[in-house]
C-alpha cells in the first residue's frame, strides 16, 4: 500500500496545522447578514415561538450521541434559554434521503405544524449526491418558499454540509449557487453552513473527517452544538433587524 502510506505521511505533515483546536468561532465574513425576521420578533413578544425545520439526514443528528444532540434540538434548547418565559416549540420534518420535492409535498399536504413563525429549510445535499436536476430543485424550492412566505413565516435557508469527500465526489457547486439565489429570491436569510464548516475544518476547530473513530460521537455533538449556536446568533440578528 505505498499510496496509502504516502497519504498517511501527508496527513502527518498536515497535523501541526490541523491539531490546533480552536473554539467554533463564527467570523463575520463567513456569515451572510440576516434578513429582518418580524414574525419571529412578534412571536417572542407573544411568548410563543413555533419553529419548523425541514431537512434531510443532518436534522436527525446521525452519529451524535443521541437525538437531543442534533442541531435542531440544540437550537430549540438555546432559543428557550435565550428567551426565558417564551414557549419554544420546534418540529422537525424530513430525514435521510428526503429531497426538496418531498419537502414541497409535505408543505402542500399540510403535514407540517400549525402556523410556524420561523421555517428553517435545509436542502441541497441529497440532490447533489444523486445528481438531480439543480434547476428543478430550485423551482420546487421557490414554490415552497413562496408558500411559507404567504403563510407569514420568516425563513432561513440552510445549505449543505462541507466535507472533503462531498466536495471531491459530487458536483456540489451548481446546487450551492442555486440555494443562494433561491434564498435571495425569497427574501430569506441564508445560513452558509458549508462555508462555516469549511472554515472550522481549515482552522482545525472541527474536522470530522480526520477525527478518530472513538472521538467521533463527541466531535459530532460539538459540531451540532456549534451549528445551533451560529443559527441562534443569526436568528437574534434577524430579530434585531426587525425592530
Amino acid at each position: 500500500m505505498p499510496m496509502r502510506f504516502f497519504l498517511i505521511l501527508l496527513l502527518l505533515a498536515a497535523m501541526p496545522f490541523t491539531a490546533r483546536a480552536a473554539a467554533c468561532d463564527v467570523p463575520a465574513e463567513v456569515m451572510s447578514a440576516a434578513r429582518p425576521m418580524p414574525a419571529v420578533a412578534r412571536a417572542i413578544q407573544a411568548r410563543n415561538l413555533r419553529v419548523l425545520v425541514l431537512g434531510s439526514g443532518s436534522i436527525t443528528g446521525p452519529g451524535a450521541s443521541g437525538p437531543d444532540a442534533a442541531w435542531p434540538a440544540r437550537l430549540e434548547a438555546m432559543l428557550a434559554q435565550r428567551h426565558p418565559g417564551v414557549r419554544v416549540e420546534l418540529a422537525v420534518r424530513g430525514g435521510r434521503g428526503v429531497t426538496v420535492q418531498d419537502h414541497l409535498a409535505l408543505l402542500r399536504e399540510g403535514q407540517t405544524i400549525h402556523a410556524p413563525s420561523l421555517v428553517l429549510w435545509q436542502a441541497g445535499t441529497v440532490e447533489a449526491v444523486r445528481g438531480l436536476d439543480p434547476d428543478e430543485m430550485g423551482e420546487a424550492m421557490m414554490q415552497g418558499l413562496e408558500r411559507i412566505r404567504r403563510a407569514g413565516a420568516d425563513i432561513i435557508v440552510v445549505d449543505q454540509q462541507y466535507s472533503r469527500f462531498l466536495r471531491a465526489n459530487t458536483n456540489i457547486e451548481p446546487y450551492r449557487d442555486k440555494l443562494r439565489l433561491v434564498a435571495a429570491a425569497a427574501g430569506a436569510s441564508l445560513f452558509r453552513r458549508y462555508d462555516l464548516m469549511q472554515h472550522w475544518v481549515e482552522t482545525g476547530a472541527l474536522d470530522m473527517e480526520r477525527t478518530a473513530r472513538a472521538d467521533r460521537a463527541a466531535a459530532t455533538d460539538r459540531l451540532n452544538d456549534c451549528l445551533a449556536r451560529a443559527l441562534a446568533e443569526l436568528i437574534a440578528q434577524g430579530v434585531a433587524e426587525a425592530r
Binding site: Q161, N171, A184, G187, L190, E209, T211, T220
Partner: protein
Amino acid sequence: MSDDSKPLGKPPGRDLRADLCRGLALWMIVVNHTPGNWLNGFTLKNFSLSDATEVFVLLAGYAAAFAYAGMADRQGWAPAAASLGARIAKLYVVHIFLLVVFTAQVGFSAATLDRAVYLDELALDAFAEQPYRTLLEALLLRFQPAFLDILPLYIVLLAMLIPGLLLRRRPWLVLGLSLGLWLGARALGVNFPRWQEGGWFFNPLGWQVLFVLGFLLGQSVRGAVSLPLPPRNALVTAGAVAVLVIGLLAMIASEAQPWLLEPLPLWVPGFLASMDKTSLHPARLASILALAYLVGAYLPRDGWVVRAAWLRPFILMGRHSLPVFCFGILLSFMVRLLLEVDDGWGMQVLANALCLAALITVAWIGEWSRSTTRRRDPVLPAAAGSH
C-alpha cells in the same frame, strides 16, 4: 467569425483564435471539474453567464464543419458519416473507461478518508448496491455520475450530425429545425432520460442549438454555403457588450458580493435562480454568442494573441482537443484526490502545475505524432478531423 472574407473556393487557413479559445476552455473544464481548486475563482463561469462548456460545444460544432462537412463535400456523405461513426465509437469507449476510473476514485477516497458517519446519506455507490444494473445503465448512458456529463452530450451531438450533414447545403432549414427543437424541448420540458429520476445534466435537445450555430459559423468561415456572418458594426458590438456587462454584473451580485442583491426587487434574484443550464437558458446562449462575436470581430486573426509564446501551449491544446479533453477529465480525478488530502497553497500550486504540464505534454505529443505521420504519408489531408 472573421470578417476578412476570402474569395470563395480558397478557404482561409486554420483559425488559431478558435484553437486558442478551445484550449483555454479545455483547461477551464478541467479546473471546473476539481472543486476546492483555487483557480475555480478565475474561470469564465465567474465572469459570464456562460462558461467553458458553452465555449467547448460551440467550437465543437465549428470544428465539425471543417472536419465532417468538408469531408462530405470532398468525398460524399457516406465516408463522412462513417468517419463520424468512428469518432462516436471512440468517445463512447473513452466515456466508459472514465466511468470505471471515476468509480474507482470514489471507492478509494471513501476508504482513505474513512468518511464520517454524518455523511451517510451519500448514495454515491450505485455500483455497490446494484452492480449489474448500474453497469447496464452506464452503458446505455442513462447513469452518469457527477462530472461525467459532457462526453455523453458530445456523443449525441455528433450522432445528430450524421443525418444533419445531409442538410448542410440548406443552412436556414438547419437553423429553423435546431431552434424549433431547442425551444420545443424547453417549452415541453423534454430531456433524455436518466436511470432513476430526471434527465441528463446537459440536455442534448437544448444544447444542440449551440453546436449547430457553431457548425454554421464554421461553414461560413470555411467558405461553404451558410448563413451570413453578423456585420462588424457599432450596433451589434454595443449589443454584445451590453449582454456581457449585464452578465458580469449578475455574476458579481450572485456569487462574489451577495449583499448587492438585497436592495434589488426580488424578481432579479428570482430570474437568476430560474436560469437553467440543463437545457441552455436563452441568457446563457446570448452570453456565449456575444463573447464569440467580440472575439471574432475584434481579436485580429493574426494578432499578438496567436503569436504570444505563453499562449502557444493553449493553441496546441485546442488543436488536439480530443486527447486533451479525455486526459483532462482523467487528470481532474487525480487533482480531486490530491486536494482531498490537502488543499493548502502548496498542494494547490503543485496539483495545478502538474495538471497543466500534463495537458501540454499530451497536446505536444499529439502535435509531434501528427507531424511525423504527415512526413511519412504526404497524401493525408491536412488538419482534417482534428478536434
